[in-house]
Amino acid sequence: MSHAPVLEHAPPRGFLRTHVFSVDHKVIGKQYLDLALVAVCTGMVLSWLMRLHLAWPTLSIPGLEKLSPNGAAGGVITPEYYLSLMTMHGTIMVFFVLTTAPFAGFGNYFLPIQVGAEDMAFPRINMASFWVTLVAFLVLISSFFVHDGPALSGWTAYAPLSAVGKDAGPGQGAGQTLWAVSIAIFCVAQLLGALNFIATTLDLRTRGMSLARMPFSTWAWFITAVIGLIAFAVLMPACILLILDRVAGTSFFIPAGLVISDRLQPHAGGSPLLWQHLFWFFGHPEVYIAILPGFGIISHILPVFARKPLLGPRAMIGCLIAIAFLSYTVWGHHMFLSGMNPFSATLFSVPTLIITIPATIVTLLWIGTIYGAKLRFTTPALFCLGFVSVFVSGGISGFFLAQPSTDVYLHGTYFVVAHFHFVMGVAAMFGIFAGTYFWFPKMFGRLMNETLGKWHFWLTFIGVYCVFMPMHYLGLAGNVRRYSAFTDDYLKPLIPLHQFITVAALFTGAAQLIFLFNLLRSRFRGPKAPANPWEATTLEWSTTSPPPFDNFGGHPPVVQRGPNEYGVKGAAGDYVMQAAP
């Protein structure tokens, strides 16, 4: 709504109000992205340590003993420390990178601009959501420095291993409690964030910006906010119950008669499957929270570099909504063999297979958009193509795991690790890379270096295939996941493949340093960026880079058409901006 800037929203004064405790959605978006950057570096180092230990178990890593005298005496990682590294790798990557960067980071920065608003509906709550996320991250990281080290029950934290406490092994004392508290705090932050996204999308759209005219990335963030709202609202009570089980002596998830470390546990009557149901009811929507913003970013960027409108925009939005709805009906496919009633395995496998249809439609729409395009191979465009290819590889392996009859063999093996890494670990990351290269000029007013960007793409694209495609073969050979060493007779011949994967992982990890260098250098010394370097149509390109405090310098745009106006004949250039008269 076009209205004179109300006093409430005057630009801040002073360094603290402007850059640290700022209510400006742009600053908060950048803060989220910086947090995600720190988190992804931590997570990547953890994955290096894991891979090094798997390939060469007796390798002594210098300096590790200082970080954890108990876990890695003499620099050699012990089995419990490997599991702690795995748990922290999973938790940090899923929560503090894949939920924070594409959704909270880019979403906070660009959703208000793309809908033509001055800021999020509730700026102070928006600021609170970042600082609560930061608190959650610090609580999680503090579990590294606790006596027994971080939790070791995986990012899924199945009870009773996660609920019994110190007896269940090192890391299950203070480390696991800190994990549960950190995740509960993270849920609160995400709920506050989702609240903002939905209110802004529904109420603060500028004149002419109807729902149908919203860009695809905005649609993706809005739908992700709705999924996140319901998913995190379920994970929070689950974490509260887990904390009560651990601290207050209740027995929600711990049955009677458990003997752990030769001690009969003082609990009775709980149900471990109750935790699995509560967790996976959140868990599967969470993986869609990680990938849907990626869908939105790719659908937003691909037309810009194909110079033609996205094929089937309404079908794309319909698929996003279908995926959002179906994501709440499929959680049981994580529990086919978990001891729940086998009939419900068949029940859950049907919607799991059905959800592949909208995913296939989305992929075909991207490929159809590339048909007949005039592709400009800039770095964001390459990452879009990479995203489509990697998402296809990851999605296809989902077919095997969706059916109980083949999941009997593949459940708990590296096939599962390959599947979710391809879809979440790589496709979602390619979405974040594409978003970064695409929006960097708008966020910082400077251009990133294209050659470094291309080097980063090629090394990463080839690297991730070398790392994660062989994991499918390990899965077929029955290699069990979450093992800290391969001592079984049938696993020993697979160790050379693990060593290949480790080398590829180190190589791909090193390639990310190019991205880091490019990111930091261009932030201060990149060439000046014009308002619309990629000749795109959406609202964020019709304001300066970086946008002023209230995004449009006091006169919000009036939107005349949708975001898909590319390849238009007769217009100046082959595109028409959304807000152009």
């Binding site: 048909y371 592709l375 079984d488």
Partner: protein, 267 residues
């Protein structure tokens, strides 16, 4: 640049599919009754997914090769028919594949996990604990003794918490760390966990089932080939998860009876 992307993607697709097709790494030979049908289901899924994978990757590569911007002023072309062929292709193609896989798969799954066990199958109790499997045979009296968690004492090999002093049926129970079973005879395992979640997985038997503390979960199969195979735990259970190794030894019926007699003598 588009051409480079197309070449790299084609190489990746060809190499990956080749390794899948030539089965360099593949499932171990199957030794269970229901195994062949699972292998068939897996191969069928592999073929149909392989086609889907190759077609979509190569079409992506082809379009990236063909539709680079050559500054020749040629207008962009929309996909003939717009989005509807995409939606139709997805719903029909993938939908048909899903129907086939679900229908066959559901029957196969029901055959293993939803059918009651064969009445004369050999009943063995399995206990998974932090970091070992133990198997208990009811012994000559045919009745397994009651288990008492408070009596469990690993030092005295009393893994199941039996109470031989008062419970006569527990006296002859045989507790061994290796699952020894006769070939071609249906086996009914009752899975119990002593402490946390574990899992029973034998790749060769194509069977897998989690242990859940507080539940006694039945699992039945029939081994059709003799030999010694490894049992591994696939559900994260703590620091020794990687080392929860046990063996399942499938013997001809006569050698199994001999083994059983010898174990009874040792009691």
């Amino acid at each position: 640049m588009g051409k480079l992307f197309a070449v790299v993607l084609t190489i990746i697709t060809v190499v990956s599919t080749a390794i899948f097709a030539t089965r360099v790494w593949w499932l171990p030979t199957d030794i269970s009754l229901h195994g062949p049908r699972i292998d068939h289901q897996l191969v069928e899924t592999m073929v149909s997914c392989g086609v889907l994978f190759v077609v979509s990757q190569l079409s992506l590569a082809a379009f990236a090769w063909r539709y680079g911007d050559r500054r020749d002023g040629r207008p962009v072309k929309a996909f003939p028919g717009g989005a509807t062929p995409m939606v139709v292709m997805a719903v029909v193609l993938v939908g048909a594949e899903i129907l086939a896989l679900t229908f066959v798969g559901a029957k196969l799954w029901a055959g293993i996990y939803q059918t009651p066990p064969d009445p004369n199958s050999l009943a063995i109790d399995v206990q998974a604990e932090q970091f070992a499997f133990y198997f208990r045979y009811p012994g000559p009296d045919g009745k397994p003794g009651a288990t008492h968690p408070e009596l469990m004492n690993e030092a005295t090999e009393n893994y199941f918490g039996l109470d031989p002093a008062h419970d006569t049926t527990a006296r002859d129970d045989i507790v061994v760390p290796t699952l020894t079973i006769p070939v071609n005879r249906p086996i009914l395992l009752t899975l119990r966990a002593k402490d946390v979640n574990h899992a029973f997985y034998v790749p060769e038997l194509r069977i897998q089932q989690d242990f859940v503390p507080g539940l006694a979960i039945p699992l039945h199969f029939t081994a059709v080939q003799t030999g010694k195979f490894e049992i591994v735990c696939t559900q994260l259970c703590g620091l020794g998860h990687y080392n929860m190794r046990a063996y399942v030894e499938v013997m001809p019926q006569d050698r199994f009876d001999e083994w059983l007699k010898e174990k009874v003598a040792q009691q």
